[in-house]
């Protein structure tokens, strides 16, 4: 099993009383809530945490892209990835990922990723996402074009990385007379590609296709959903006539490790509850603009067969749902080993800082995870 340290870079200094007057930490929360002095401090601290992950032996350090939100301060993740490319030694640099449909010129991602790959000497893992629903409100990208733009942008980037330039690209959304990438990527034929997802059927089908076999990374969901969608992905691979390697199956979630179960609960409780209930807070209309999902999925949301989380998630509920794993090293390792055995997940993307979790607790969490959990799980290999 391989381990990756993921940072959302939340605005941890957020005044959480905002919930009394605003419906979401996304899109409409006035940016007067942001203090650049605090922001500076947090950015530097979070970069230190990512560097520490490299030193502690994580296989990769991960960043991602969100816009207009206190939930994550990385509208341009390449800035952080660039800093990491120069200051980390051996960890992969994972950008999970750039939201392709939001761009009018996806070649900027081909360029940015190629630069990161060159600077890091081939350590880039390239994530491509559609972006969550709220990004379509923030960017005014038509949600009904999300899948079409995603796939076309992806095809353009792949061709830019692998075909000799200059060449012309003719698409529905993107048209170029001269595609001629400088620099070309360092890795051959191109950086490894991951697709973070919340389980859209179209994405599962596309990701598992034998032409791609990209790593399917299921993110921040109840364990029943992880099981269901990783199962669907595996099944899709088998329908295509192959068995997915454990490297193709990834799971991203927050975890907290402390000396004992009781200490872990005491230290993490308020921070994880605030993360899910205050940083992640947004009405359904923010999350699911019409066209972002298929009409059928939206129908299922409407009739209640597909649940959209709007209720308060307590610490107990989060543990029960398996959206958060918390406890002593033994507790956490056992839980992860069990899930590995049932799903064959080979790549665990750990979020060991969440919301307001302070520096000391984050570092302790990281050291215990790296020192006492990782070694127990490392030997776990392919699915039995």
């Amino acid at each position: 099993m391989k381990f990756y340290f993921f940072h959302l870079m939340p605005y941890g200094a957020l005044d959480l009383d905002y919930v009394k007057t605003h419906e979401s930490a996304w899109l409409t929360l006035p940016n007067s809530y942001y203090d650049p002095v605090q922001g500076h401090r947090l950015y530097r601290r979070y970069i230190d945490e990512l560097r520490l992950a490299d030193a502690l032996g994580f296989d990769g350090v991960c960043v991602n892209e969100h816009h207009e939100t206190a939930y994550g301060l990385m509208p341009v993740p390449g800035v952080i990835a660039g800093a990491l490319a120069c200051t980390t030694r051996s960890a992969k640099i994972c950008v999970l990922g750039r939201a392709l449909p939001l761009l009018n010129n996806p070649l900027v991602v081909a360029e940015e990723y190629a630069m990161l790959d060159n600077i890091s000497g081939g350590r880039l893992i390239a994530g491509f996402v559609r972006g969550i629903g709220v990004e379509y409100h923030a960017s005014m990208t038509n949600p009904g074009e999300s899948h079409g733009r995603f796939q076309e942008a992806h095809d353009l980037i792949l061709r830019a990385w692998t075909e000799p330039g200059p060449f012309a690209f003719e698409g529905k959304y993107y048209n170029f007379l001269y595609v001629n990438l400088w620099p070309r990527p360092y890795q051959k034929p191109h950086p490894e590609i991951w697709i973070p997802s919340q389980g859209s059927a179209q994405t599962i089908d596309w990701t598992s296709h034998p032409d791609r076999k990209y790593t399917f990374l299921h993110t921040f969901s109840p364990i029943t959903a992880v099981r269901k969608f990783v199962g669907q992905y595996t099944k899709r691979c088998e329908d295509y006539g192959y068995s997915p390697s454990s490297d193709q199956l990834g799971w991203a979630l927050p975890l907290y490790v402390a000396e004992t179960d009781a200490i872990a609960e005491r230290e993490a409780r308020a921070h994880i509850e605030d993360f899910f209930n205050k940083f992640l807070r947004a009405p359904t209309e923010y999350k699911l603009p019409p066209g972002y999902t298929s009409l059928e999925s939206a129908q299922a949301v409407l009739t209640g067969t597909l649940k959209v989380r709007e209720q308060h998630l307590s610490f107990e509920k989060l543990i029960e749902l398996g959206m958060f794993i918390c406890g002593s090293p033994a507790t956490v390792a056992e839980r992860l080993e069990r899930h590995h055995r049932e799903m064959g997940i080979g790549r665990l993307v750990t979020m060991l800082q969440f919301g307001t979790l302070p520096r000391e607790l984050t570092e302790k969490n990281m050291r215990l995870f790296a020192g006492e959990v990782m070694p127990r799980l490392r030997p776990l290999g392919e699915r039995p």
């Binding site: 899109l27 409409t28 379509y136 409100h137 005014m140 990208t141 038509n142 949600p143 009904g144 074009e145 009405p283 209309e285 923010y286 603009p289 019409p290 066209g291 009409l295 939206a298 129908q299 409407l302 009739t303």
Partner: protein, 259 residues
């Protein structure tokens, strides 16, 4: 219910269509709520006109064609439709995005048009006057913010809706979003070319429209030569729902101004 059991195929797209009444032809183009919402108004108009009420491609029981990307596609679709039905001296009436489609038709080819009535029409932007964002509104706000009289909103919210009806509304919301998302609810080209419209035009607007502010009505009036503006007091965006008597009278007036 305005019967819409007929189907018509234009440019490869099969659409539901209702035809009723006799007299001069009148094509009614519905808004984001689909044709059934405009049905009662179409019934009234059928007392004096031969009314055609289609469901736009992508709405209600009509197909959603692959070629449907924006409002201009619907303008060409309906120009082709009125040629197919050989409608001449046509009175064109459109509400909300239906008004936008009607205006886009008029700047392209007005040779078959006798009058144009734009009811709380999308399509232009008035600088500095913020539109509502129905795609962020909760399901309840989607009703409340579209009418002035909250008793009407409450009645609409309490009316039971079948699963089929909910599916129809969702389909319309999906197609609406696709058509209007960006630039939101307007077209820079339309704004540029509205002065080309020579068809006698009446603009009707609810004084308390929280989706499209009244400044947009003034913008339409400024841009369309010789157009007249009729503002309906104590009325929100859904004029046909909230003030049907007044709207029917205004449409009859508008038609009288036509050629």
């Amino acid at each position: 219910m305005f019967d819409q059991s007929e189907f018509l195929t234009v440019h490869g797209c099969r659409v539901a269509i209702g035809r009723r009444g006799s007299g001069p032809p009148l094509l009614a183009l519905h808004g984001m709520d689909g044709a059934p919402g405009f049905g009662p108004m179409a019934e009234r108009l059928a007392e004096r006109f031969s009314v055609v009420l289609p469901s736009h491609p992508g709405f209600d029981a009509s197909d959603t064609p692959d070629w449907l990307d924006g409002i201009s596609d619907l303008a060409y679709f309906y120009l082709e439709t009125i040629e197919r039905l050989d409608l001449r001296n046509l009175h064109l009436v459109g509400a909300s995005i239906g008004g936008w489609i009607a205006a886009e038709m008029a700047i392209r080819d007005s040779s078959r048009l006798a009058s144009l009535t734009l009811i709380a029409a999308a399509g232009v932007r008035a600088a500095g006057a913020a539109m509502g964002d129905p795609f962020l509104w909760s399901p309840e706000a989607q009703v409340r913010n579209l009418v002035h009289d909250q008793a009407i909103a409450s009645a609409l919210l309490q009316a039971p809706a079948s699963e089929e009806e909910l599916a129809r509304r969702l389909k319309n919301r999906f197609t609406s979003a696709k058509l209007v998302w960006h630039p939101r609810f307007f077209s820079p080209e339309l704004q540029k070319w509205l002065p080309r419209v020579r068809t006698p035009t009446t603009i009707v607007w609810g004084a308390d429209d929280r989706l499209f502010p009244i400044e947009q009505a003034h913008a339409f009036q400024r841009l369309i030569p010789g157009s007249s503006l009729r503002i309906v007091a104590r009325c929100g965006h859904l004029v046909h729902v909230e003030k049907p008597d007044e709207l029917a009278g205004l449409i009859f007036d508008s038609v009288r101004r036509g050629r």
